[in-house]
């Protein structure tokens, strides 16, 4: 060991944990494919008004049972005689597979399913993503308070979480929905109408708080006893500084990993509530309400219910794969506990 190589200091500074994670994620092919799928579906849904006005030329929110549309120069009634041998009643038009008119057919009110699918997706994605963010915020507050302060605060919050967790998630959500759906919500001077999309967002966020708070609390408790926090304490660093500077940045990767998984859960919950007609209220659409609309047509025009269902499966699957990739990239464990 006679000669020492000059060490290039700045250039070889170790990359930060986030950069390492992004690099690990970007070589994970299935995670990137999932992300691309999500991006594509989100953009497609955001283009809903454009599709409805400029491509399909329909209004997907008014019923149009007496109307007709043009295909290959022929005029076709939206409501057609039934396929059954007696030709009793009317069925909406089936899929035309032409983007210009009723790509996926019409629903029982003669509305364009494809256009509704995009509008519904916009609501579904918006609700589930906002619900996930709101849920993470609440869960982080609860989890960090309980984990960092421990003792009495922890006891109260953990018991509260236990109690909420004992009620089946969907029943809890249903209870909250049914109460708010009838007359809306009045908190002091603020009134939230029952058809406001905020209601499902708040409800879904609320019911999943225990699910997300638990791993966060565990992480914070582990951090609280970590050496660097003890060291900071013994140096006399004030508590709030430890919380903001030491705990929060180290919990953030748990929060990031939880976000796609919670979005997936929220999307499933939203579609279930909407399917039970206590989520998104008519005339607004979501993938859940479209499946509900399609229930009556399931044997004659299955596409009405199949398309939004497939959309849900794709998005939830992509979110789960992406979430798994994030978890591997950020090396976070303990978030794998499931939904109900």
């Amino acid at each position: 060991m006679t000669q020492t190589d000059p060490v290039p200091c700045a250039a070889s500074a170790p990359p930060g944990p986030w950069r390492t994670a992004i690099r690990a994620l970007s070589v994970n092919r299935s995670a990137m494919a999932a992300f691309a799928t999500l991006l594509f579906i989100t953009i497609a849904c955001l283009m809903a008004p454009f599709y409805a006005h400029d491509i399909a030329h329909t209004d997907p929110f008014t019923s149009n049972v007496a109307g007709s549309f043009m295909l290959h120069g022929q005029e076709i009634d939206i409501m057609q005689p039934n396929d059954n041998p007696l030709h009793l009643g009317l069925s909406p038009a089936g899929p035309t597979w032409h983007a210009s008119a009723y790509l996926l057919g019409a629903d029982s009110q003669g509305r364009d399913v494809a256009a509704r699918l995009l509008y519904g997706g916009r609501n579904s994605l918006m609700i589930s993503f906002s619900a996930a963010l709101l849920c993470i915020t609440m869960a982080a507050t609860v989890g960090i308070l309980a984990g960092f302060f421990g003792g009495f605060v922890d006891l109260i919050l953990s018991r509260l979480m236990d109690i909420m967790w004992a009620v089946p998630v969907y029943l809890f959500a249903i209870s909250l929905s049914i109460v708010t759906i009838s007359q809306g919500l009045k908190i002091g001077p603020f009134t939230i109408e029952s058809d406001n999309l905020l209601i499902p967002v708040v409800i879904i966020a609320l019911v999943y708080v225990p699910y997300a708070a638990r791993p966060i609390r565990g992480r914070v408790m582990a951090l609280r006893n970590a050496e660097f926090v003890t060291a900071a304490k013994s140096l006399g660093v004030p508590r709030w500084r430890i919380l903001v500077l030491d705990i929060l940045p180290n919990v953030s990767n748990t929060l990031v990993v939880l976000t796609p998984l919670l979005t997936a859960l929220a999307l499933l919950a939203e579609s279930a509530l909407s399917f039970l007609s206590i989520g998104v209220q008519a005339p607004a659409a979501s993938w859940g309400t479209i499946i509900q609309d399609g229930e009556g047509l399931i044997y004659t025009r299955p596409m009405v219910a199949l398309a939004p269902g497939l959309a849900i499966v794709m998005v939830v699957l992509a979110l789960n794969i992406f979430g798994d990739g994030l978890r591997d990239a950020l090396d976070v464990r303990e978030t794998s506990r499931k939904n109900a």
Binding site: L171, Q183, G288, G309
Partner: protein
């Protein structure tokens, strides 16, 4: 030992109390509207409103309302539905229970068997294509909304392929009591069972595989191999048995939630008159007493199941047995 049991009992009672307060508050103290009109239903007459107000004590303070409600639910059990012309709620739930129980039990058998097989096989062949495809299947199972899967199953078995040999045996939607015809019961429920089980197979298979892989790094697994045991025996007798501890505790909670009405969506799609569907019907005409009762009962059930899981846990894990 005795003191630990008493402590556990105390905890259970506390959680039960907490849940009843939570549910009560959700239904009667959510800001927005008068709970009287919620109970009485849409367009109730002023006389009904007065009666409801008096019966539930809505003119008195919250703690009294809470006590009244608990009495009506668990002691006198005369909570009545106003929307449904005074039908008593509690007996209705009791009538629906066997359907839900049948549905949940059958699904549970399927999901336990399938997920144990899936998790074990995936762990045994870890990092091979078998593992990867099983785990992907599981992830797909987790990602499918159960009500939609039910519809697709109906579309296939009731309509599209109903006339072929494959599904001609599937009866129409609805429940057939076991005592009436065991075979009919089985036929009517097998499709709902599978549909309900799919989600759980995905979850449990993945959880079990992860647990098995964690366990396989443990010292005792190396000991077992050093003893000259076959890989199968090491995996099943030492690995799986140890991993079952987590599995069982998860299972207890999920099964309890299903019995408690968590299978609502499946019941709705397959037209099974269980506790969940009861709740669903109550939803459509805003029948609050019924919904509250079913939520309350299901929560009670989940808490009880929690206690049972704790007992089973003790049976499964000798370490816990001594710790208490």
């Amino acid at each position: 030992m005795i003191s630990a049991l008493l402590k556990r009992l105390g905890q259970t009672l506390f959680v039960l109390f907490g849940i009843s307060v939570l549910v009560f508050l959700v239904f009667f103290a959510t800001p927005g509207a008068d709970p009287t009109s919620r109970i009485a239903g849409k367009n109730a007459s002023p006389e009904t409103m007065t009666r409801v107000r008096h019966e539930y004590g809505f003119d008195r303070p919250l703690p009294v309302q809470y006590a009244t409600m608990m009495k009506k639910l668990f002691i006198t059990r005369d909570l009545a539905s106003y929307v449904d012309r005074g039908e008593l709620v509690v007996p209705e739930i009791v009538r629906a229970a066997p359907v839900t129980l049948s549905l949940a039990t059958g699904a549970a058998v399927i999901w336990v068997v399938a997920s144990v097989a899936m998790g074990t096989v995936a762990a045994a062949f870890r990092h091979t294509w078998i593992d990867r495809s099983l785990m992907m299947l599981g992830l797909i199972g987790i990602s499918i909304p159960v009500f939609w899967l039910g519809q697709v199953a109906n579309l296939i078995t009731q309509a599209r392929y109903h006339d072929t040999w494959l599904f001609s045996w599937v009866p129409g939607l609805g429940y057939i009591p076991f005592l009436e015809s065991p075979v009919g019961w089985f036929r009517a429920l097998i499709i709902p069972w599978v549909v309900l089980a799919v989600l759980f197979i995905g979850i449990y298979g993945r959880v079990l595989r992860a647990d098995l892989i964690t366990v396989s790094g443990e010292d005792f697994m190396r000991t077992a191999r050093a003893k000259g045991l076959s890989p199968t025996r090491v995996l099943l007798v030492h690995g799986l048995r140890t991993s079952m501890i987590t599995f069982v505790s998860l299972f207890g909670l999920d099964f309890a939630q299903l019995i408690g009405g968590g299978a609502l969506l499946t019941e709705v799609v397959f037209g099974l008159q269980g506790v969940g569907r009861l709740t669903y019907q109550a939803l459509s005409n805003l029948d609050l007493p019924l919904i509250m009762a079913s939520v309350m009962y299901s929560a009670v059930f989940v808490v009880m199941a929690n206690a049972v899981v704790d007992v089973v846990y003790v049976l499964l894990d000798p370490r816990v047995r001594d710790a208490r």
